[in-house]
Structures are given as structure tokens and as C-alpha cells.
Symmetry: C2
Subunit: 781 residues, 2 copies
């Protein structure tokens, strides 16, 4: 049958389309994918293909495409028939040509990008824009309607799918997992999802493990292991695999259709009864299926199967044959629209995977945030009261969880550290999500609890991202040092957020909120391996539109920061706060004002009201703030007439100049606060981060930052400060060195401070504890 | 039987000790572990326990200890009998008390830390130092003989064990995997090790999956899944699990002994025949086994089962009862030495796991490094030749692999990117490690190839670390952006290296070498998700003793850098180099000298020989170097009498002041090179990294850095530069702005440069390609 004479076959309603029509849709999607990779013009092959119709730079990944389009076609069949709401998370995001094609075929693409009309002009533009400068990437980036997962970096598809399914009963989240991606650690851990998904209260995740056999240049592990071993592996994670395998389209269509009939029935049954194993698909089809024979089924079809097309007429002809093999005249009208045979092979409206409003952040609401006032620590005078900041936060979070319980759109994630991080009060009103058998010693487990714990930062992060990207709210609390585990994930999420902001049909989703605690200064028994404050450096290297870092010095400030973060949209908020008993400085009102300002002079600790400032002592972070204030105390004892100013920074980005960050303080305001006098800055993290933020500020030459220098071990809190030169005595000495009128007294004062350090060292060697006058020190001026 | 009257039981030779003696050794190790957590004094309970004998701060992890000590005891039985060389990698590194105890019992601890004598004094010190300021951490850090794995951060034990086993035939690498750690992504991926380990050419990895049921506060997943599911999961990864389960010591001893007899026989059989499945142990024993009954078998025994001991005499009594339950008088002589019953329950000498010279870097040699000269690119004049830097490197690496083939101590790791990164020449002399079935389309696979590829940066990194830590050599090549996947791993490795340097009996091991390629400036079709140059920022935040970053501008410089890195010890070397065709500047000799200097003036590109410099154009990285030189070209066309100086930086740490990094250049030398004139710096990565390195340098106010600002998409090479303001025209404009004598001409020149940018933009919109005069530009002065 030649393409020219073929007629569309329309003999079944779309409710359960015959496989011939599915095959046609599949061919259309494959045709459109090849077109995106290759064509600049002549999209319908209306004339013989010429070199100038072909792109000069051929970019894209063909190998994965036919498996994605096949899955899309078959999903659409059951979605339309069963009226199921679904998302598709596509791990092989490099195969975005397939998803662009599908979205264009079902209309979702054109609705959000009106210039991509469903005709020859729109098709030409679709082709041309793909992987073209100023166009769209070869990944399923935010430009693509229906996508919540770009997939440029591999490993996170199944975690994103799981996060999207949490608390979305009735939603089907299909997830194509490439057999390359399946080798990554995060994906390997993600197979445990059925242990956490509730069959009734959550949506269903449907993994499609696509074994096309090859990565860029190597075979894939899972495609070569014994079939029974593979199924045992997947069953061992709680799945029930159904295998679809073949290279004859008709056979595969029949098998895939039968498999999805089985799968959708099983999912419906699980949702009704709460029982039964979670179904999944193992799909074995050739890499680059339907592509040029020479490379079909080989790693050589991974990217562009026919290279340098313009250079060789035989290659042009081969490309023409390849494109024609899909019989485009059956698939598209002369005007370029999808023919009736394929145009309605989708569930329609918002049920189209390329139009699901959840994927665009359109289904979300604000959290109800109870007043923090009832949880504020009483602070009659700065520095007298002590409190555990994260425990106070936990009390408020308990109320937040309660106030939003009915909406089921808030989850708190932690890698087995929720209670260790002293957020345990939340467990008074909810449980930790747990669906495996329980034992008498277990505590606070519940099948659909609001706290989700698994000992994997990757899973916590990936699940939270999927949850947020579908419009819900959350928080990830973790040990500060181990936030680096997800450095690459937060980088990708930040890129997603700032790119998504360019798509007006995407509503900003709730922010990604981190609570980093058990921080560098208090690892009394964990020591060096648990000491790394650099996650904030990494986050601040991301685009300023999305990156925020807060270092609340006490519990009330933490409450105010937490409230701001939980209200915000479209950001990555990193909050660093300690969990140990620590002095409290600001009452609720002052704390809120301080967070509003982002930084400010602490007048009650300053002595420069009456004249020129001798020096500024700045601080950011709870332990550095304590040492800075103790240094003021020490200094005023030694030199009572010193005119010191204390500045505390809670919103770190305020230190940027305004053109570098939207929170950046204008130079004039900066100088009003930091003066033109010497500044000794006690900083929570690596000292050079402050220099990175301020190198272009006035008076930067007089800024002396003390922070963490990677000198860590198992030791007392104060000794950690001493090891890194951020202790009160060294801060005091740094100030004295900068004040000319100290003059001759410096040598004597220096010796006094060093003697105190020596006394500390001797005491700690003897007792293993800090001197009581150090650990028990309180601000008392 | 009271402790006082018990007699040691010695009725079997150590070659196959009876279980009573194993049990005694186990009790001794448990006793010593409890002692480390709790006791300051009275180590042998020679007198009734008093509060002052107890540490004021109780730090340590008891829950995991008895499983580790049990495993150690049973391993020693078979190691001694079979004369097997072994290492123990202990995932629950928090349980280092157990490993310290074992090392002290078998003497390895005392040999390397002579003050820890095997008597009451030494035992007191062992107890006191544990988790004590100035003492040793609660992890298996470098202080511990036999350890190659600290384990503070979870996830990497099995990868380290696998790396240690590569190319070590005859070595047994036992690996305790906690059921908490087993939830992490890297560990989940690590189960695939049998697909890569050769039964004859490599050592055997013996995982002991310890299911004690709980993490800090939660049950563990794998302890609660159905036993058959779990075994299916492990079999699906290539293992054959043997389960040992119980809570009655005698029964567990018998089962464990039988299991290890089976396991060692199976390993020997595999080593002989090359066939059979890899055995492993699933060990189910109670958390905190033999501890206080109230918390035994519960998450409550995770850390310190009896808290605040000094505050309550009943707690002191409970601790005394607990300690006495091990019947210490049977285990230790009155002087505190291990009794004869337990003293020889180990394989002796270097076969003791606490004395294996491989763990201390004592078995290593220098690589034979063939002369790079034969691979150098011919550079008759700077900038005329082009070459693909990593392809040139690949040619030399092929010879390196050949020259060292017989020693089998060099492996090249890559996450499926070896060929993509153009190191493919290596595959002419070796294969990619692959042991699963093969297919006709496969290329370059071999059961024990020198190239190891798996699509997991975590596995590549973890395997390489294990390989290096046992004294072998390696390189990890990866896409630059995705190096962030292993941020947390490299941080832990860097900490290990600088801490290990304090232990004189540890010989520095070969450096961890990264080749980051497919870098930020050339992601023509991958776009934003593949663009992140921040890994070097992260590495430079680690201790300067270990961190090195190189940005070779061309192929010959890359060769010189690579040679330096492969010769070095104890470092983390990050090399960033492009794989695309690019201009070559330095011949082999000049390149070597340039690397030796680390940075230098490129006189051939400078025009300031005859007078005062107008401005310096500095550059680091291949693409920025090209744009900087093109900017010089543009500038000299516009203002022929400009006196410009070109400085290229290859060793980034040279920019530090000397007190901040051992490679730091003294200020005087820095100023001789960078002058006191304005400097426009074209930098490969985030521009603020250069400011972080140089904020305290003279003339920093006149340093203007252009770099990557996270503006990325799918576009042409030059357009990427334009998007981030590092293109030749903007660099030229930045220079012109800094040269006062340009004066009135600035406005006109500026317009000229902006016009050229506009022409570029128009061309690229039309054709999708860079203007030929831009992409084809070569240095020609």
C-alpha cells in the first residue's frame, strides 16, 4: 500500500481504539520525532527531500523515541476508555522529540504554544525549533505541556512519579524508566516506592521499565540479566511485572494492549480493596525501533542514526525512505493536520497527558498557616532564655499539619532524622508513612502519615520535588552535611523553576524548603564526616531568582522564616538552624521584623550609639551569633569604652549587591548598617562565601570573616569554634587588632585572651567538657 | 557462674576454634565496645562502678555493635583456618567501637597506636579516647588500622568493598551493610557488583546484610519485607544469599559458622572454576543484642541505651550489670590483657583484618608513564592547529594502559561516557568490563577490561575510591555537570585523605583523578540541564592540602596535567577539558613549563613588552582562552597601539594567597604577572569562584571576571558565550572601558562591538549556526 493511496481507518469509537489506529498514531508520533531531529523544511515530504530541507546540525536522541511513543499511544487507549487522569514522567528525557510529537498530536502543545499550529506551518516550526538555537531543548523541559520532569540528568524519574502520586488518589502516574537510568543509585532505590504508596489514598505509579538494550555505547545491565532474576528483583521491591516483548509491531501492540488492560484492572482493584501487588510493565523492544535497519537494535541508534545527511545524497535518500516508511499521507491531511484516524486517539480535555492541570501547577492552594505566636519563646531580655530552635518549630509544624490535614497536600520528608532533628511534636497528630508489617517496638507509624521517612536523601528529595511540582507543599529536614547528597538534584530543580517561570501557563509551585539542622558546629559525637556547611554555597550558585538562604539565630526567628518559606512559591529556600539548647534573643515581634529586614543592627548589644563606631561585629547563624555576642561581652570587659556595633544577618542574600540578587541591599543601606569601619564577621559556613557575596561592596577590604575551615573532629561545641578560629576570644582579638585606639594595650589584652584559650584547652583535655563559664555563658548586659 | 571464678576455655587450636571460644571473643569485643561508650576509668570493673568512672558525655552507637563484633569473630574463624587475606568494610561506621575493640583484641590497634597497650592502662585509654575531645571519632576513620571506610555518611560501603576487590584475586572483602544504609540510592545500585566482579581475576566481595530491624527511629524496609521477596531481590542482583537468623547466641553461632563454611567453600569454588553465583550472608539479629533488656531489639538501642548514667545510682548499677554480663574475668587477665582463650582467635600477622597492609596503602607502586611526547600535538605557531584535547589524551592513556597492563593496578571509570568523552583509543588495547551475556551489536567488551562503565556516577566514584584506597590507580571521566552527583562522596574522600595524612603508618594512596569534560560551554544539544561548572567550587572548599583544580587550555597542556595527576599521591585532582575540536596554543615543551608554573604570561599574545600595560586579559579554561585571545585580536584591530597582556591560568589554586593553599602564589609574584592595571578575566566556571580565590589579593578592585551565570540552553558554542557575557566582543568592551586613553573613542567602539553581536544574533536565528568568521576564527598574529 503506498502512502498516497492509503485511507484512514475509522471503524471503532476512540473509547477502545483498534490496534491499527494505535499503530497509525504511533507511526505519526515517530514520523514527527524523526522530523524534529532532521528537518528544517518540507515537513510533509510534499516534494522530494533535498539537502537544504535538512538541519545543518543534527541533534537529538532517536534510540529511546519509539518506546516512548508506543507507551504514549497505548496509555492513551486505556486512559480514554477508562476516563483515567494521568501524568507521564519520562525518564529518558533526551527523547523529548517523542513527547513533543505526542503533545502536538493531541493538541496540548498548540494550546500553550499557539504558533505551533496543527498544520504544515506548525509542523515545520515544531521541527525547526527542536534543538535549535532559540528553540526548545531536546529534553522534556518546562516548555512541554504535561511535563514535570526534564530528565536531562538521569536517576530521578521514578522518584518524581512517586512524589506526584502521593495524596493524589485516582491519578495514574506512568513512568518510563530507561534501562540506562535504571543503573543509577537514585533509581535503584526508587523501586521501593510500593512500600510507601497507599493503594487507596495515593495515586498509582505505573513504571514502564523500557529495556531497549543499550546506553550511549554499552549494553544495559537489566536487559542482559536472566528474565526470572529481573522479575525476582522487581518483585522483591513490591512490584508485579508484566512483560511485553517483541520487535514485530503488531505482536507488540497486541501484547501491550493486553498488558495495559490487565494493569488498569489491577490498579482499579487495588484502589477498591487496598490489596494486591502494584503492577508494572517490563517493555523489551529494539533500540531505535523502526529506524534505519543498519543501526536498529544497537547502541548506534542512540542519538542520530544517519549523520551528516546534507553531505551525501545517499543519506538524503535514506532519510527520505525512513520518513516515508511511516506513510505520512495516511497520518496527516494535505494541510498537515492529523487525520481523523489518529486525531481523537486521546482522552480529551484535561485528561490528555499533555494538558493535565496538575502538571502545570494549576491545582494548588495556599497552606493554612496558624499564628506562630502561640509557639514563640518568651524573651524578656535578649540571651537569658534558652530553647531548642527546631523543637519550637516542631510545635508549630504540628499545628500546621493539623490545620491542613483535611486537604492532604502537605508532607514532611526526612531521611530517618525527623525525631533526631527534634520535630517530633508533629507525630502527636500524624504518623510516619509505613505500609509494611509492624512490630511492638515500632513508634508512630501510619499507612498514610504526613511524615515520610526513608534513609535516602535522594528519595526524600525526589519525592518532595514530584509532590511540589504537582502543586502541593512540603519540607525536607536533613543533617546539614548530607544535603550535599542531593546537590545535583537541587541544581536541576532550580533550573526547572527558573525556566518554568518563562511559561505563563505554568503557575509557580510551592517552594522547595530545606531545614538543615544537626549542623556543622554541633556534631559532638559524629565528628568530621558530619561537618560540611557548603550546601548553601551550592544553592547560592544557582539563579538568584530562585535561591534563598536563611540563617535564623534563634527559635522565634526560625518560626518567622519557616512561615515565610511555607507561604512562598517558585523558590529554593534553605534554612539552617540548630537543634541544641541555645540562647534566645528576639521576641516574636522583633524576630518577625528582623526576618522582614533580612539583617539589622542589634542595638541592645551595640555600644556605638553615642559616637563613631570602633568596629562592627557581624554574625550569621546560631552558634556564630552566640560567639559574636560573647566576644562583645569579653571586649567590653577588657575595654569598657569600645564603641561596637552588632549586626545579625538572617537572609544571606541581603549581602549581595542588588544587581546580583533580588534581595540584595543597595550599597547606601549596606553602608549605613556595616559602616565604613572594620567588620569582624562570624559566619556559620565557609568564610569565603561571605567574600563571594560582598567582594564588590564598599569597605570590603576591612571585612574579616571567621567561619568553618574544615577543621573538625569529635569534640565539644566550644572546641569546634576554637579549632576554626571563630571562638569568642579570637573574634575579640580580631576586633582589638582593628581598633587603633587600643594601641599599646593590644599585647597585654592578646595575652589575656590566649590565656583563656589555654585554660579551656587544659580543662577539656582533663574533663572532656567545656568550662562551665563558657558553656553556661549568657548575654547579661 | 560468677565472673570471678570462670576459667578460660582452651581446648581447640585456633585453626578452627570452637564456638565457646568464639562466643568469649564476641563477649570481649562487646564488653570493650560498651566500655568505650561509657567508661572513663575502672576498665576491668576491678572495683564497683561509681559515677565518676562514667563519662560525663555519653556518645556512640551501641545498636549496631553486636552484629559487627559477631561478624568479626566468625570471619576470623574462617580466615585463620583457610589462611585467607581479608578486609572488612563496615557500613555502619558509627559502630566503630566494635572495630576498635576487635583491632585492640587482635593487636593491630596497639601496633599502630603504641599507647593503647593491651593491658588495663591501654584499655582505660581505649575507653577514654573514644568519642572524647582530642581522641578518636565514633566512626571507623583513618585512625583505625584495617579501615578503608569511615562510614559516617551512609551508602558507599558496598561500592568501596567492590573497588577494593577489583584486581585483587585471593582477597576477601567482607562488607557489613546495615539495613538502614541499604535504603540509600548508592547502596541499592551497589548490589549489582557481581555483574562486574570476575571470580578469578578479582577478589571476592562478601556482603553481610545485617537486618537488625531499626534505624535511628524507624523500622528498616528490608527487615520487614517478606523473606522470599528479599532473597529474590538479592538473587536478582546476582547474589546467592545464605540467611543466619536468631537471638539465642549459641544457635546463631552455629548457624553463622555453618554459613561461613559454606560461603568460603563457594568462594573458593568460584575462584577455581570461574562459575557459580556469588554468596552473601543475610544476618538477622536483634538491634542492641545483649544490651539492656528494655531496649534490646528496638530502635531505642540505636545509640546510648542507658543515658545520663552519672545522675542516677540505679543507672550506674544497670550499667555495671550490663558490663558484668559479659563475664570480663573470663576474657581479660587481672592485668587487662586478653586471656589465652581469646588472644589467638585471629589469623595472625598481616592476615589480621586490622593489619592488612593493603588497607594502609602499603601495597602500591608508581605507574609506568610513557613519554607524552609521541602524543603531543604539533604546534608550529599558537592557535593555528586544532585538536580534540580529550582524544589526544585518550591516545596517551592507551599507552599508559598498555605499559601497566601486567600489573593490573589501573582502571578507568566512566558512567557510559568513555567513548563519548573521546577516550576511545584506550579500547584498542583493552575492553570494557562486562560479564553478562553479549550480543552481536556489542562493542569492546571484555570480562576483565581496564575500562569500567556503569551508568552511575556513584558506583564509578565508590569503586574508584575503594580501588585507590587499596593502593591502585585510576581516573574517572564524566560530564562536568554531573560530577555534582558525587559532591558528598568527594567531600568524604577528601576528609579521609587529610585525616589519613596524620597517621604515619598509612602511606599516601594514589590521587583521585577526575577528568570533567563535555563541559558547560559545549552542550550544543543537551542544553541547560547539562550545564553546571560548580564541581570545582565544591572541591576547592575542601582542605587545601588535598584539593587541586586544573583547567588546561589545550591538548598538550592536558597531557602535562594528566601526567602530573597520575604521578601524584593523596590528592583530589580535578581536570576540566573540552572534547571538541579547538585551537592549540602550546607545544609540548611550553605546555609542560606552563603546567609547572601553573599560570603565566603568554608573551606571544601580549603587546605590552615595550611599556606600561594598559590592561591584562586573563583566562582559564579552553573556551574562555579562545574568547580571550579573540578579544585581543578584536581589540588590536580596533586600537592597534593597545598594550595588552595575556595571562593564562591552568592551576587554579595558584590564585590563592600562599597561606590559603600550598600552590598559592606569593603576592609579589602575583603582582608581577597580573600587574597593578585592570584585569579582565575570562573564566570557565562561575565568576565568583575567582573572586573567592583572590578577594584578598592586591588590586582586587580592578579584577573583572566574566564567567558562567547559569544562562544556558540548546544553542551554538558562541551563543553560549554571548548569553553569559564571556564572548570576545564583551570581553573587548570590558577592556576598553578600563583603558582611560581610549577616551572619546569608547562610544564608537562600543557600538561597533554591539553591531557585531547583533549580526551574530541575526545569523544564528536564520541558520542555527555561528557566523563562519566566529567559528572559524584562529589566532593569526
Amino acid at each position: 500500500m503506498s502512502a498516497a493511496t492509503a485511507q484512514p481507518v475509522i471503524d471503532h469509537p476512540p473509547a477502545d481504539a483498534p490496534l491499527e489506529r494505535l499503530d497509525a498514531w504511533w507511526r505519526a508520533a515517530n514520523y514527527l520525532s524523526v522530523g524534529q531531529i532532521y528537518l528544517l523544511d518540507n515537513p510533509l515530504l510534499a516534494e522530494p527531500l533535498l539537502p537544504e530541507h535538512v538541519k545543518p546540525r543534527l541533534l537529538g536522541h532517536w534510540g529511546t523515541v519509539p518506546g516512548i511513543t508506543l507507551t504514549y499511544a497505548h496509555l492513551n487507549r486505556v486512559l480514554a476508555r477508562e476516563r483515567i487522569e494521568a501524568l507521564l514522567v519520562c525518564g529518558p528525557g533526551h527523547g523529548a522529540a517523542a513527547l513533543n510529537a505526542a503533545a502536538w498530536l493531541e493538541g496540548g502543545y498548540t494550546e500553550h504554544h499557539p504558533h505551533l499550529t496543527r498544520d504544515a506551518d506548525g509542523m515545520r516550526t515544531l521541527f525547526r525549533e527542536f534543538s535549535f538555537p532559540g528553540g526548545v531543548p531536546s529534553h522534556a523541559s518546562p516548555h512541554l505541556p504535561g511535563s514535570i520532569h526534564e530528565g536531562g540528568e538521569l536517576g530521578y524519574s521514578l522518584a518524581h512519579a512517586t512524589g506526584a502520586a502521593f495524596d493524589n488518589p485516582g491519578l495514574l502516574v506512568a513512568c518510563v524508566v530507561g534501562d540506562g537510568e535504571a543503573e543509577t543509585g537514585p533509581l535503584a532505590a526508587s523501586w521501593q516506592a510500593p512500600r510507601f504508596l497507599h493503594p487507596r489514598e495515593d495515586g498509582a505509579v505505573l513504571p514502564v521499565l523500557h529495556l531497549n538494550g543499550y546506553k550511549i555505547a554499552n549494553p544495559t545491565l537489566l536487559s542482559r540479566v536472566d528474565r526470572d532474576e529481573l522479575h525476582g528483583y522487581l518483585r522483591g521491591c513490591g512490584w508485579e511485572p508484566v512483560e511485553v516483548a517483541g520487535s514485530e509491531p503488531r505482536e507488540v501492540h497486541e501484547a501491550y494492549a493486553a498488558a495495559l488492560d490487565h494493569v488498569t484492572a489491577a490498579i482499579a482493584e487495588r484502589a477498591r480493596t487496598g490489596r494486591g501487588r502494584a503492577p508494572m510493565v517490563v517493555l523489551r523492544t529494539p533500540k531505535g525501533w523502526t529506524g534505519p535497519r543498519e543501526v536498529e537494535g544497537s547502541w548506534r541508534s542512540h542519538q542520530v542514526p544517519i549523520a551528516d545527511v546534507r553531505s551525501d545524497p545517499r543519506r538524503v535518500a535514506a532519510l527520505q525512505r525512513w520518513l516515508a516508511s511511516y506513510r505520512p499521507a495516511e497520518l496527516f491531511t494535505a494541510e498537515g493536520a492529523p487525520t481523523a484516524a489518529i486525531a481523537d486517539l486521546h482522552p480529551g480535555g484535561d485528561l490528555r497527558m499533555s494538558a493535565n492541570p496538575r502538571a502545570h501547577g494549576q491545582r494548588q492552594r495556599d497552606l493554612r498557616l496558624p499564628d506562630t505566636a502561640g509557639h514563640a519563646v518568651e524573651v524578656s531580655a535578649p540571651g537569658h532564655t534558652t530553647a531548642e530552635a527546631t523543637r519550637v518549630l516542631g510545635g508549630w509544624l504540628r499545628e500546621v499539619v493539623s490545620a491542613n490535614a483535611e486537604h492532604r497536600d502537605l508532607l514532611l520528608f526526612a531521611p530517618d532524622e525527623h525525631a533526631s532533628n527534634r520535630l517530633g511534636a508533629v507525630l502527636e497528630v500524624t504518623g510516619r508513612r509505613w505500609r509494611l508489617p509492624t512490630a511492638p517496638a515500632d513508634a508512630d507509624l501510619a499507612p498514610d502519615g504526613r511524615v515520610v521517612e526513608v534513609l535516602s536523601e535522594h528519595l526524600c528529595q525526589g519525592w518532595l520535588e514530584g509532590y511540589l511540582l504537582t502543586g502541593r507543599h512540603g519540607l525536607l529536614s536533613t543533617y546539614e552535611a548530607f544535603a550535599h547528597v542531593v546537590d545535583s538534584m537541587v541544581a536541576q530543580h532550580a533550573k526547572w523553576l527558573h525556566t518554568a517561570a518563562d511559561q505563563p501557563w505554568r503557575r509557580p509551585v510551592p517552594s522547595l524548603n530545606y531545614l538543615l539542622t544537626s549542623h556543622v558546629w554541633r556534631q559532638d559525637h559524629n565528628g568530621a564526616s558530619h561537618q560540611d556547611p557548603g550546601f548553601v554555597d551550592h544553592v547560592l550558585s544557582k539563579r538568584p531568582e530562585v535561591s534563598r538562604v536563611y540563617l535564623p539565630p534563634d527559635a522565634n526567628t526560625l518560626l518567622a522564616v519557616a512561615e515565610r518559606c511555607l507561604r512562598s512559591r517558585g523558590l529554593v529556600n534553605v534554612v539552617v538552624a540548630g537543634k541544641q539548647p541555645a540562647a534566645q534573643y528576639l521576641d516574636a515581634e522583633a524576630a518577625r521584623a528582623h526576618v522582614e529586614q533580612g539583617l539589622g543592627i542589634w542595638r541592645w548589644a551595640s555600644t556605638d550609639a553615642g559616637g563613631a563606631t570602633d568596629a562592627v561585629i557581624a554574625c550569621a547563624g546560631d552558634v556564630p551569633t552566640q560567639e559574636a555576642l560573647a566576644a562583645v561581652d569579653v571586649l567590653l570587659d577588657l575595654v569598657p569604652d569600645l564603641r561596637l556595633r552588632v549586626v545579625n544577618v538572617v537572609d544571606l542574600a541581603r549581602l549581595f549587591r542588588p544587581h546580583r540578587h533580588p534581595h540584595g541591599l543597595p550599597d547606601r543601606a549596606y553602608t549605613e548598617i556595616f559602616t565604613d569601619r572594620p567588620v569582624v564577621f562570624a559566619f556559620h559556613g565557609y568564610p569565603w562565601l561571605v567574600h563571594q557575596l560582598t567582594y564588590d561592596r564598599p569597605n570590603h577590604d576591612q571585612l574579616h570573616v571567621h567561619g568553618f575551615h574544615d577543621h573538625g573532629t569529635t569534640t565539644t561545641p566550644f572546641d569546634m569554634c576554637v579549632l576554626n578560629g571563630i571562638d569568642r576570644y579570637r573574634l575579640a582579638l580580631a576586633v582589638l587588632r582593628q581598633v587603633p585606639r587600643v594601641g599599646d594595650r593590644l599585647g597585654h589584652l592578646r595575652q589575656d585572651l590566649l590565656d583563656r584559650l589555654a585554660a579551656h584547652a587544659a580543662h577539656i583535655r582533663r574533663t572532656g567538657e567545656d568550662l562551665p563559664e563558657i558553656s553556661g555563658w549568657r548575654w547579661n548586659r
